[in-house]
């Protein structure tokens, strides 16, 4: 009877643990951490000498070729005053000048969320996952590819809010192409503030749209709070190679002047906007990013800024960009080393793929790219969920697949604890050679908290899987995002704040005629 009792009590413990796990999952978006503090070091692949060679190359690009500031005399003048040599719109920089300016940038900072429990810490050992950004198209298995709408935008904000493993609501989670170009930033910022309570990104497509984003944040957080704290950021692209466009530097200046954050990101497809060799693209990236980051500090020393990176390669047969390939995966590791030497928080890589379906290629490339971001020490992982189609499409299925993988990465980043409980010496004494660990007290004690539990991977035996319909992951993901949207409940918002946001939008929209390009 003793062994039966044991089996039964084991089964009881198992059932009850399973129920507790299920409960925890149901409330996961409330109990998951606001951000990750990594327990494993970044992966360093290039030695001191190699890093210095790349830094010197960046310095020479800056000193000998320089950067053009097109359409922003204010930015040009700020750099001229700081010591850069200007020749028309082109500036050159003495080695060391930008590094000196960057010393005032914070090594880490908090981006506050509307819900204080969801504020994120960016920099140091901290890791923040945000949805993908900027696709004009959306996709799902039912309707295929189509232009994104504000309804899709809201859906992705809701899905990101529901996702326990995304810490951030992102920015342009898809282009809401049914809203006029000059007004859509208002609807986007409103959606982030209304349908989520996680931190978010504002508009950068024009300096006045950046201002609107900050003004809407002021309505929610209060003017004084925003003056002292980062509550919104702009994600700004270099016009690679070596050009900073006035629209972008205007947005940088708007965010920095308001003490808000900027993410400075070159976009280099090797062979097109940069050389075909990775080290050259990295040197270029370092040069371009240092300039953008320095601009924030010239506008307002101490303004939060993130060193961004975006390397990719090209398919030499078609001339198309490629993503999730080995060159940028290795290159990003080096960029991480350089960002740490600069002492700046890092944005790097993401869940990239050129696949047009949520298939094997999609996850092969995405995992390669995401793990590179994880290993390179990235602090802010924009593009953690949703991309297909060479960044042109946001996929509902891919979104939930990526979110599930972000969950796995939470466990991976927790590393391998080596305390006495983890070493489990008591289990070996109890179990001994040839026996199993199912009912061991060490197993029972650790059962509930051990092993990452996926929502989307199928671990059933073949026969069970077949009985359940023999579905692939994409089909399971299709059912999953629909279930999540059905179950979505908006976070509470003060009705007065909501009304003030809606008033602001209405007033702004009334001031402008619709513009569609």
């Amino acid at each position: 009877m003793a062994s039966l009792d044991l089996a039964e009590s084991g089964a009881r413990a198992k059932r009850s643990a399973r129920e507790r796990r299920k409960e925890r999952r149901a409330t996961a978006s409330h109990s998951a951490p606001a951000y990750i503090t990594r327990q494993i070091p970044p992966y360093e692949i290039v030695g001191e000498e190699g890093l210095v060679r790349i830094e010197n190359a960046a310095d020479r690009i800056l000193a000998e070729v320089g950067i053009e500031f097109r359409g922003d005399d204010v930015a040009l003048e700020l750099f001229r005053k700081a010591g850069a040599k200007a020749d028309g719109v082109r500036c050159t920089f003495e080695p060391g000048m930008l590094r000196e300016i960057l010393k005032s940038a914070p090594r880490e900072f908090v981006q506050h969320a509307r819900n204080p429990a969801r504020s994120v810490r960016i920099g140091g050992p901290h890791v923040v996952f945000a949805p993908s950004y900027g696709s004009p198209f959306v996709m799902d298995l039912d309707q295929g590819r189509r232009y994104g709408t504000i309804e899709d935008f809201r859906n992705f904000v809701k899905l990101a809010y529901s996702a326990p493993w995304l810490h951030h609501s992102g920015g342009t989670v898809c282009e809401p192409t049914d809203v006029p170009v000059n007004k859509r930033h208002l609807d986007m910022v409103y959606a982030h503030l209304r349908y989520s309570d996680k931190p978010f990104l504002g508009s950068i497509t024009a300096p006045e749209r950046a201002e609107d984003s900050i003004d809407m944040a002021r309505i929610v957080f209060g003017r004084d709070f925003v003056e002292e704290n980062c509550v919104v950021m702009g994600n700004v692209n270099v016009n690679s190679p070596l050009v900073w466009d006035g629209t972008m530097t205007g947005a940088i200046r708007a965010y920095a002047a308001a003490n808000q954050g900027s993410v400075i990101v070159p976009f280099i497809l090797g062979g097109a906007m940069g050389p075909v060799t990775t080290a050259g693209a990295i040197a270029q990236s370092l040069a371009e990013t240092m300039v953008g980051c320095a601009l924030t500090q010239l506008v307002r020393p101490g303004a939060p800024v993130i060193f961004g990176n975006f390397l990719s390669s090209m398919a030499l047969r078609s001339g198309s960009p490629t993503f999730g390939t080995p060159e940028p995966a290795a290159g990003s590791l080096v960029v991480g080393q350089l960002a740490r030497r600069l002492g700046l928080p890092l944005r790097c890589a993401g869940s990239f793929t050129t696949s047009k379906l949520p298939d094997a290629q999609a996850m092969q490339e995405s995992v390669t790219s995401m793990l590179s971001a994880i290993h390179c020490g990235a602090n802010f992982l924009l593009h953690s969920a949703g991309f297909l189609d060479g960044l042109l499409s946001m996929s509902y299925e891919k979104f939930v697949m990526d979110v599930d993988y972000c969950g796995a990465l939470h466990t991976y980043l927790a590393g391998v604890p080596v305390d006495d409980n983890a070493l489990a010496l008591d289990a070996f004494s109890e179990v001994g050679p040839g026996n199993h660990f199912f009912g061991a007290s060490h197993t029972m004690r650790n059962y509930e908290t051990t092993f990452w539990d996926t929502e989307l991977s199928d671990n059933d035996p073949f026969e069970t899987w077949e009985e359940k319909g023999g579905l692939d992951m994409a089909t399971r993901a299709n059912a999953h995002w629909k279930k999540l949207l059905d179950a979505y409940e908006a976070p509470p918002i003060d009705p007065g704040v909501d009304e003030a946001l809606l008033d602001f939008m209405a007033r702004k929209k009334a001031e402008m005629p619709d513009a569609w390009y």
Copy 2:
């Protein structure tokens, strides 16, 4: 005209480079390296103190709980003579004893191939990819899952031979279930020797089958050569937890006595054959593997041996094993650190998944697992290509998908060169801000050798992809493996050697009645 000329000459250079690349691909299996010498360091995630804690835990398991040798008095006696304390079939080992014995094991060695150009170096910075091993089932998109046959076995040997990115022919690439259990090792070894000229693994399912494998190798390589050189290895599993089965130790003794290689691998599913905590499973793995490795050295000091590792986790909802999950991915990195401290070549992880289809889940899990093997510093990657279905099925489509990914890993392992050409300073001077690098002389100079070129990922724009049929990767892979099998040509073999192999097989088979279990 000047710019037109430039464009035309650029196009000419591009066309011609494309042709040259195509030619190189056509002969890739001949020009690809016999093995990889990695240019990036392993990734170390646990510090000295943590590693010592795990090593001490392994020592305590060995000293206080011990290992049972079931059904092999010779092995038991070898350890007893070497200083282990035996109590029945259970041995305990004083701390340090096994490490002392292991000092005679080579840090790296060559496994010779029938074609000397394909001999592989195992250990140190070298990386060898081999197909997956041991599945009873095979799968393809046309016929679904079915038991493997000798025809399937030969097909996978042929596909591995055709694969430029696999360095090794593997062992039981699938179970040829249509051949009697007691005879199939002969057909398997013959297939490796006849349809490939890459190095291979012999049988381990009984000591006499290991002997037959070595004898067949002697026919091909010559008795004297085999006495001095490693030409065949056995991949041997611990009966975890803490049991060495006589069949396995018998095989180890056979290979070691003949100066041939052994790969010593625990098989630990956390919660079943080991504790649910990763550090405990690693300590157990270290204990079990050290014993197996030490046995080779007691039989013949200096015999080649590979420190193997196989960690996995369990789906707590179903109790099924899981693969490609974050715990073993992180755990393998630690195992790599421990193997290097022991000074032994490492076999670790592989392309693992529980997916029953070559879908998103399959590559998500496989890439997670493969990158862990790459980062942990594994030298011999058994299971690099083919697995689906929790290791139970070998998939034709997954095989070619994995092979393509192994190609990407060749590029990844080459790291980021930082020589003057890679830094591309001349390109920046030539191109300048705002222009593209397409026709730059640096681009032209590096065009042919830059960027990993995939066989299976689709990088076309959406519209082109749609025109081509809108296929997913699995469907493309289905066409690809058929094309490869159609194009397969056997490597040459000396007719006398072939005849001797066939004679040996016929004689052996005639000696035995068929056994089917």
